[in-house]
Structures are given as structure tokens and as C-alpha cells.
């Protein structure tokens, strides 16, 4: 297995002299190709900051981030957008779909931005739509379909360029439980059948239980890490809950 993402002791500070907030104290981990990694943590634990740093939207204060061997913290301002569209796929809580375009066009946009030959576009959109079960709504507008369908469209858009890494920021945040479940299955199949490497930030234990490995962040550092291994999802889910209980102030605070 290849190492696709490596965070090398990154730190991130906000504020100025005398009033510094350490959003990320020190985070160091790596992601292997084909992994489905979950990042959990309470609000303010630094997970979104970390995601922004990986996605090149924000910069780190110290440390390095390597994506497939390239140091993203060293990429020049001008090349960042190109790097992002060629290597990363995004799934956001609020879908990030364009209301002016149909589902088909929303997915195709990701290809046209990457200057894919015109002839390849339609077949590729059809193909990915079929595998994500949205082929029948391709010609509808986002406001005509359900939240779950929108999010699956966002998944299709994220994966269609075969990015090295897909970053998902609370993908189930705006969905009801049934849609969440459908979406997570979709993501799981993207990971298992399409070979996508996914890094998902969430604070929902149920969502996290779909991942292979989970990192728990607290106050800007990695608190612990658990692996699914051969466990069933139910067992893995219980493990997650245990860790969360432990993290949530710790048992010592209660006793």
C-alpha cells in the first residue's frame, strides 16, 4: 500500500501577539491509498481547520503536508487552484451544488474545469451516475431532488476526476437518518468498489462507524486512534461511543 497523505507535525495558530489561539497544536498522521479515514472530535477540536489546511484553503503555521509526495504547503499561490482540482475531491455539508445547473451539468462541470475532451464527458457522467444510483435524476435541477440525492450528486462530482483524496466535511450534517445511511453506503462503495481514498470529518458516531479507521482529535492534538479491523459495524460503533465517553471530559470529571 502506498502512503497517499502525510501530515508532518503540523501546527496552526490564529491571532496576534499576546492573544494566540492554538487551533492545531501538533498533528501527525498518514493515510494509505484506498483508506476510509474518519476524523472525530468536538467543536473546536481543530478538525475543520485541519481539513482546510489539507485542502489548501488555509495555510499551516508550522509543519508540512504531503499529498502523494508533493508538499502542499510549498505550492505557489498561482498553482494552488490547479493542484486542488487535479488532486482533491470535496463533499460539503451543504452540498455545494450550483442551483443554475442540472445534476448532469453539475457533475460535468468538474470535468470541464479539468479540460477533459468533450467526447468523454457525457459517457463518464453517465457511468458514475449509474454506479451512484442517480442516473434517473440527471436532468433535474438541484431544487427538484432530495437532500440525499443532492449529496450523492456531490459525491459523483467529487470522484469523477479520480482524485487522489476525497475530503468530506460533515457530509451527513444536513440529511435525515435514512438519507444519511444511503449516503454512507454510497461512500463506502466508492471506497470499496471505486478505490477512492476518503477522509471524512464528522462528529456523528454513526457516520464514523462506516470508516476503517478513526482519529479522535481534542484541543488540537490526536487524542487516540481506533481501527475497525475485522469488527462488525455494530461493534465498531460501540467502540467509538466508548472513546467518545472517555473523551467527553473523562470519567474522572464525573466521579
Amino acid at each position: 500500500m502506498k502512503e497517499i497523505l502525510k501530515l508532518d507535525h503540523i501546527q496552526k495558530f490564529y491571532g496576534n501577539e499576546g492573544n494566540v489561539t492554538k487551533a492545531i497544536q501538533d498533528i501527525d498522521f498518514s493515510v494509505q491509498e484506498g483508506e476510509f479515514l474518519g476524523i472525530m472530535g468536538a467543536s473546536g477540536s481543530g478538525k475543520t481547520t485541519m481539513l482546510n489546511c489539507i485542502s489548501t484553503i488555509d495555510t499551516v503555521s508550522a509543519g508540512h503536508i504531503y499529498l502523494d509526495g508533493t508538499d502542499v504547503t510549498e505550492i505557489k499561490e498561482k498553482a494552488i487552484a490547479k493542484f486542488r482540482r487535479e488532486n482533491l475531491g470535496f463533499i460539503f455539508q451543504d452540498f455545494n451544488l450550483l442551483d443554475t445547473l442540472t445534476i448532469r451539468e453539475n457533475i460535468a462541470l468538474a470535468l470541464t474545469i479539468n479540460h477533459i475532451p468533450v467526447g468523454e464527458i457525457e459517457p463518464r457522467v453517465e457511468e458514475i451516475a449509474k454506479s451512484l444510483n442517480i442516473a434517473d435524476i440527471l436532468d433535474k435541477y438541484p431544487y427538484q431532488v432530495s437532500g440525499g440525492q443532492k449529496q450523492r450528486c456531490a459525491c459523483a462530482r467529487a470522484i469523477i476526476n479520480h482524485p487522489k483524496l476525497i475530503l468530506a466535511d460533515e457530509p451527513t450534517g444536513a440529511l435525515d437518518s435514512h438519507s444519511s445511511q444511503m449516503l454512507l453506503s454510497t461512500m463506502q462503495s466508492m471506497n470499496e468498489n471505486l478505490g477512492a481514498t476518503i477522509l471524512m470529518v464528522t462528529h456523528d458516531a454513526f457516520s464514523a462507524s462506516y470508516a476503517n479507521r478513526i482519529l479522535f482529535l481534542r484541543d488540537g492534538v490526536i487524542f487516540t486512534e481506533i481501527l475497525k479491523g475485522r469488527d462488525t459495524r455494530k461493534v465498531f460503533f460501540d467502540k467509538i461511543l466508548n472513546v467518545l465517553t472517555m473523551m467527553g471530559g473523562g470519567i474522572s470529571d464525573v466521579l
Partner: protein, 738 residues
């Protein structure tokens, strides 16, 4: 406390108010500048021979009427501002502020902005009024001098008028804000409207169009078949046939609407209707050409009806154009994968179509308004120069006394007079005469008296006297010769026809032959021709025994007559020559004519320019706000693009393209139509333009106007661009979610 809050809001959001301030300032400064002319304190140095009181009330009325349009605009801009700030209102109401208090705060905020624009507008208005004074002085043909124009009564009127405007609009906005629900305020910038590409309004326009074309077809059959005889040229006959057939083709399209739509697309159908409409417009536009070059006889009512129909065609075509443009883009997008899937084109089409789809009606209206104002603007120098040029030709003498035998009931009863009774008046007023010519024109035959428009003649010595007055060379004739003097706008062909027809004439005093002298076209006033184009010049001996037609006395004074003297002269004249309901005798002084005509010209000119600029401002403001009002949505959409990895320079290009289309299309269409209109006018009135205006001068004026138009356009385009970019880059730093 609350006032401070409002004031801080103003300071913080001054950039958001850019459009509001710009529009208000533009309107206020124009209002002030144009209004200052009517001020009691306005005393431009135009000399004693002019009197500006004539201007006052007419101008005031024109300006205030046009400015009424602005209330609508202020209201529109305010609605936009409310929409822009709804999120803030939501936070304030959640914190527990009364909604009426929020409305009050917002009112104060806009009022502060309004006052700011009022001050700025008046200052700018003082500067602008210099241009207006320059314009005024030019109309009165005086050199420009600077005058300071801060007048208390104008300031008061401006403050009062706009204060009332703010108050009325403010009341409306308080009412609006109090009615909005908090939840709607919170989500105001993300509200999704299902975007439609059905243009229901155009169906109505089509229906009206079919009915109008049907009526026009029937009317054409009734009116135009008269021209289908051999009396008229073949070209006209063919034209008649075409202009009868086209309306019925249109009606046919209307009847077969459902069938055609079923078999081909909506866009194709509209294109067909558009082409037929265009053909009709071109056909009807030929009418004035026939009238001009083939002297096609046509009743005035019918002619005007056809001209009005051209305007309808124009309205209809512009409507169809925008719908076809919008739907055509959609078709283009769906047909050509190459265009559709090139770079960010998908996004670009989405942006344009989502906005255009629901705005074709307002785009059509804006385009038509722009056309109207550009045409008004371009028409202004044309009308002004014409009227002024005409004035210069018409009133060439300082004092001009005419008689017109055709206005008298019985010519035989007219007293013969040489107008010497005026001499005592000149003495009393110490008016020295530089040149004075009393003369008569004669009928060739005494029997001509009964005709309404006989050609009259002038004696050679009187003619030479008039020529001398203007420093022209005298002419000489042999005893049995005559020559001709023509109205200066007479076409060459008419003169030539006359020459071949009248190479010899018979008078009561013998026969004369046409001399070899070139026909004369010097400017000698427009009255001596007695409703004809020509007056004949006969030897003095011949004239002696002819019947007198009209008596004239033309005077040049040493120095220009003052306005008061000129008025008294007119009264004095009419005391001696009572009119008795017949306008036989008239006295025209250069002073009064120039003053009154110049004043009228000036009112028309300022009125036209003022309306044109106000209409520009209105159109551009609306165009600009249509783009800015959805900034929340746009911010989100462009953020999505950024997230997907589109470079900033691509985004900049997309914004530029989007605004370019939005401003460019209506402006280009309007420019196209109005330049066609002006070209039409130039060709149609080329003779008058050459005589009264001069093509070069007119072109200069048209150029100036285009510069003003583009300056305004660039101002609005740039500020929209700045605000647009500002709004889509808000919250870009550090956050990937919006």
C-alpha cells in the same frame, strides 16, 4: 444611542451604498443644475436684448415632471438595500429589537446617505450648472463666462423635493420591513427560486401583435390599393403589394401557431414571427422615402398611423429578440457540446440563463427605454441646430415689416402704405438706422390677385438694395430681361424645371425673357416669396405699371434693439395698423424672435437632455442592481467554483463576461436601433441638415453625446463590477463553507 448605531452602520456599509449614493447624487446634481436656470437669482450675461423670464415656469414644470420618475427609482434602490441587509435585520430582531425600531434605524441610515448625496449632489450640481449656462449662452449666441450658481431658492427646492421623496419612500420601507418575517430575513440571501424559461408575457405580446397586424392588413387594403394604378411607379406598386401581403403572413403564422410549434421548436417559431415583423418594419419604413423622392401623395393621418406602426414593430421585435436570445442560448448550450463543455462555460450559461430567463420582460423594457433616451439624446442637437439655423435664416433683418395679401379678405381694400409712421418712434427712442429699405412686390398680372399663390416679382433696384444690405454683389439686367431669387433650401432640380418652363414670361407691361444670370439663392429672409419658392427680379420700368402685391420695410439698426424697445415697437405698430382679425401686416424684430425662439429651443433642449440622462441613470441603475441584488447567491456559486479548483483569474473573467453580456446586450441593441433611426433621419432630412446645420457640426454634437453615454455606462459598469467582486469574495479567507 440608536442614532449612533445607525451612523456606525452607515460608516461600515458605505461601500454597499455605492450604487445608492451614486444614483441619488447623479439625480440630485442634474436636478439642481437644470433647476438653477429658473432661479430668481440667475442673471447670466446675455445682454439687454434678451429676457429670460420666458424660461421660468416652462422649465420648472418640465424638470419636476421628469423628476417624478425618480421617486420610482429611489423606491427601487431602497428595496434592493432592504434585501441586502435582511440578515442584519434578522440578527437585530432576534436580539429583541422591535421591528418598527429596525425600520426606523434603516430609515435613518438611508436618510444619512440621502443627506450626504444631497450635499454632494448640490456641490456637483453647481459645477454641472456651468455646462448648462454654457449651453444657454450658446443658444443665445454669447461667449461663455463663469458664474457662481449657488442659489438659495434652488437649494431650497432641491432639498424640499428630495426630502419629500425620501419621506414618501421611507414610509413605504418602514411598512415593508415591519411586514417581513424573521425567518425569511435569515434566509433572504439563499432563497432559491425555481428558475423558469417560460416567457408568459411574450405570448401576450404575440397575441396583441397578431391583432394589430390583422387590423393593419385590412387598413392597408383600404388605403394602399389606391396606388395600384399606372399613375404610380412600378416600385411603389410592388411595395404596395408587399405591404399588403406581409401583415397577412403574420396573421397566418398566428393562426397556425399550434401546428408550427408542434412540428418545430419554440425558438424557431419566434424567429419566423420576428423575421416577418422585421420585413414589415422595413417595408413600412420605406414610406417616408417614397414620400420624399417620388412625392407619393398620402393623407397625413394615414402616414402617421404607418409611422406609429413602425414603433409597434420595434417594440415587438425587441421583445422577441430578448426571448429568442435567452432561449437561443439555451438551445446553443444544449446543441453544441463543444461550446457547452468548454472550460467554465457551463457555469457561465447557468449564470446568464438563470437571470435572463426570469428577466426578459425587464430587459426588453430597459432596452426600449435606452433606445428612447439615446434617440432623444441624438435628436436634440438635430432639433436645436435646425431651429437655430432656421432662426438665423428667417430673421435676417433687425426690424422686418411685412404684409401678406393672401391673409386679407379683399386685397383691393388694403391701404397702400410705406410704413413711414414708424420714423417718429425711432426718433423718440433714439434708434439710429444703419440701413432702411422700403419696397413692394408686384403681381405679374393684375388678375393674379385672386389666386392664393401667385408668383410675385421685385424691382431690380429694390433687389439690389437688399443685396447691398448684406454686402452681396449687385446684379444688372437688360431692359427686356428678368432673373430669379430662390428660397435657399430649394432643390436644384426645381430650379432647372422652372428655367425650362419659364424661359419667357408675360406681364401686364410686356414680355420678358430669362437672363443668363445664375439663379440667386442668397439669404434675404423667407417672407418676400409670398408662399412660393421664388421671387422674380424685373427691371424697374416694368414694375412701375404692375399691381402691388405686398409692401415691406426692412431695417438694420446701428446697435441691437433692447428687448423693451422691441416690445414697445410692436405695440406702437399695431396701434397704427390694427389687425381687425386679419393678420395682414406684421412686424418682426430680431430681438424678440431670437429671444423667444432661443428660450423655447433652450427649454426643449434641456428638457430632452435632462430626460435622456435621467432615463440612462434609471436604466443603468436597474441593470446594475439586477446583478447585485443576488449577491448572496452569487457568493455561494463562485465559492463552489473556488472549492472545485477554479483559478481566481478565471473567476474574474467569468464575472467580466457575465456583466459584459448583461450591460452590453441591451446597450448594443439600443445603440443599433437608435443609430438606424438617426441614419434614417439624416438621409431623410439631408437637405435641411446641409442648409441649417452642417453635417460636420451635427456629427460633433452626436459624438459628444455618445461620449456622455459611454461615460455614464463606464461609471455604472465599473462600480457594479467593484461591488460584484467585493460581494463574491466576502468570506473567502479561511473558510470553505459559506
Amino acid at each position: 444611542m440608536y442614532f449612533r448605531l445607525a451612523f456606525q452602520n452607515v460608516k461600515r456599509s458605505i461601500k454597499d451604498y455605492l450604487i445608492y449614493i451614486m444614483t441619488l447624487t447623479a439625480c440630485i446634481s442634474l436636478f439642481y443644475a437644470f433647476l438653477s436656470i429658473t432661479s430668481r437669482y440667475y442673471r447670466p450675461d446675455i445682454g439687454a436684448e434678451f429676457n429670460l423670464e420666458v424660461l421660468g415656469d416652462g422649465m420648472l414644470l418640465v424638470i419636476i415632471l421628469i423628476t417624478m420618475l425618480l421617486i420610482f427609482l429611489v423606491q427601487y434602490v431602497n428595496r434592493f438595500m432592504i434585501r441586502n441587509q435582511q440578515k442584519e435585520f434578522a440578527v437585530q430582531s432576534i436580539m429583541g429589537m422591535e421591528q418598527s425600531m429596525i425600520a426606523g434605524l434603516f430609515f435613518i441610515e438611508t436618510l444619512v446617505m440621502g443627506l450626504f448625496s444631497l450635499v454632494l449632489g448640490i456641490v456637483l450640481g453647481v459645477i454641472f450648472s456651468q455646462f448648462i449656462t454654457a449651453m444657454l449662452l450658446q443658444v443665445f449666441q454669447k461667449p461663455f463666462v463663469f458664474s457662481f450658481m449657488l442659489f438659495p431658492d434652488t437649494v431650497f427646492l432641491t432639498v424640499f423635493f428630495f426630502g419629500a421623496c425620501f419621506a414618501v419612500v421611507g414610509l413605504f420601507q418602514i411598512h415593508t420591513i415591519r411586514k417581513i418575517k424573521i425567518i425569511d430575513m435569515l434566509h433572504a440571501d439563499r432563497k432559491n427560486e425555481a428558475f423558469s424559461t417560460t416567457h408568459k408575457w411574450v405570448e401576450k405580446v404575440l397575441k396583441v401583435n397578431f391583432i394589430l397586424f390583422f387590423l393593419m392588413g385590412i387598413y392597408s387594403i383600404r388605403t394602399l390599393t389606391y396606388y395600384l394604378t399606372d399613375e404610380f411607379q412600378t416600385a411603389i406598386q410592388i411595395w404596395v403589394l408587399i405591404s399588403i401581403v406581409i401583415p397577412f403572413v403574420m396573421v397566418g403564422l398566428g393562426i397556425a401557431e399550434k401546428k408550427i410549434r408542434k412540428s418545430s421548436s419554440h425558438v424557431k417559431y419566434l424567429l419566423m414571427v420576428g423575421v416577418v415583423g422585421f420585413a414589415e418594419m422595413i417595408t413600412v419604413s420605406l414610406l417616408p422615402v417614397w414620400k420624399m423622392y417620388f412625392a407619393l401623395p398620402m393623407d397625413k393621418g394615414a402616414f402617421n398611423l404607418y409611422l406609429a406602426f413602425i414603433i409597434w414593430c420595434l417594440i415587438f421585435l425587441v421583445s422577441v429578440f430578448f426571448v429568442v436570445f435567452s432561449d437561443g442560448l439555451l438551445v446553443l448550450k444544449n446543441r453544441s457540446l463543444r461550446v457547452k463543455y468548454k472550460d467554465e462555460n457551463l457555469f457561465f450559461f447557468g449564470q446568464i440563463l438563470s437571470k435572463l430567463g426570469s428577466n426578459t420582460l425587464s430587459m426588453t423594457l430597459i432596452c426600449l427605454t435606452l433606445t428612447l433616451s439615446i434617440s432623444l439624446f441624438l435628436l436634440t442637437p438635430f432639433l436645436v441646430e435646425w431651429a437655430q439655423g432656421f432662426l438665423d435664416k428667417r430673421v435676417v433683418y433687425d426690424i422686418q415689416i411685412d404684409s401678406d395679401y393672401t391673409a386679407a379678405e379683399n386685397v383691393k381694400l388694403l391701404p397702400e402704405t410705406d410704413y413711414t409712421f414708424l420714423d417718429s418712434f425711432f426718433e423718440e427712442k433714439r434708434i439710429t438706422l444703419k440701413d432702411d429699405c422700403t419696397f413692394s412686390t408686384y403681381f405679374l398680372k393684375a388678375s393674379d390677385v385672386h389666386g392664393q399663390s401667385a408668383i410675385t416679382a421685385i424691382s431690380l433696384s429694390d433687389y439690389n438694395h437688399l443685396m447691398e444690405m448684406f454686402g452681396y454683389e449687385k446684379i444688372s439686367l437688360a431692359e427686356n430681361e428678368f432673373s430669379t431669387q430662390w428660397l435657399s433650401i430649394t432643390p436644384k432640380s426645381t430650379m432647372e424645371t422652372f428655367e425650362t418652363q419659364y424661359d419667357r414670361i408675360a406681364t401686364d407691361n410686356g414680355e420678358l425673357i430669362l437672363s443668363a444670370i445664375e439663379p440667386k439663392t442668397e439669404e434675404l429672409g423667407e417672407v418676400i416669396y409670398s408662399n412660393q419658392n421664388v421671387v422674380l427680379i424685373l427691371p424697374d420700368l416694368t414694375c412701375d405699371k404692375l399691381t402691388v402685391a405686398n409692401s415691406y420695410r426692412y431695417i438694420m439698426t446701428e446697435s441691437p434693439l433692447s428687448y423693451a424697445d422691441a416690445e414697445q415697437l410692436t405695440d406702437y405698430f399695431h396701434e397704427y395698423m390694427p389687425m381687425d382679425g386679419q393678420e395682414v401686416y406684421s412686424v418682426t424684430t430680431k430681438t424678440i424672435e431670437r429671444n423667444d425662439t432661443s428660450a423655447l429651443i433652450f427649454i426643449v433642449q434641456t428638457g430632452l437632455i435632462y430626460s435622456a440622462i435621467i432615463l440612462f441613470v434609471i436604466c443603468f441603475t436597474i441593470l446594475s442592481l439586477q446583478q447585485l441584488s443576488d449577491s448572496g447567491k452569487y457568493r455561494y456559486r463562485f465559492q463552489v467554483l473556488r472549492n472545485m479548483g477554479v483559478e481566481e483569474n478565471h473567476i474574474r473573467r467569468l464575472v467580466l463576461k457575465q456583466l459584459g453580456i448583461w450591460f452590453g446586450v441591451p446597450v448594443m441593441v439600443a445603440l443599433l436601433i437608435s443609430s438606424a433611426f438617426i441614419l434614417f433621419l439624416f438621409i431623410g432630412f439631408s437637405i435641411q441638415i446641409r442648409t441649417y446645420i452642417g453635417a460636420w457640426k451635427l456629427l460633433q454634437q452626436v459624438g459628444t453625446i455618445l461620449i456622455i453615454l459611454f461615460a455614464l455606462l463606464i461609471c455604472y459598469f465599473t462600480s457594479t463590477w467593484i461591488l460584484f467582486r467585493k460581494s463574491i469574495s466576502q468570506g473567502q479567507e479561511g473558510k470553505c463553507n459559506v
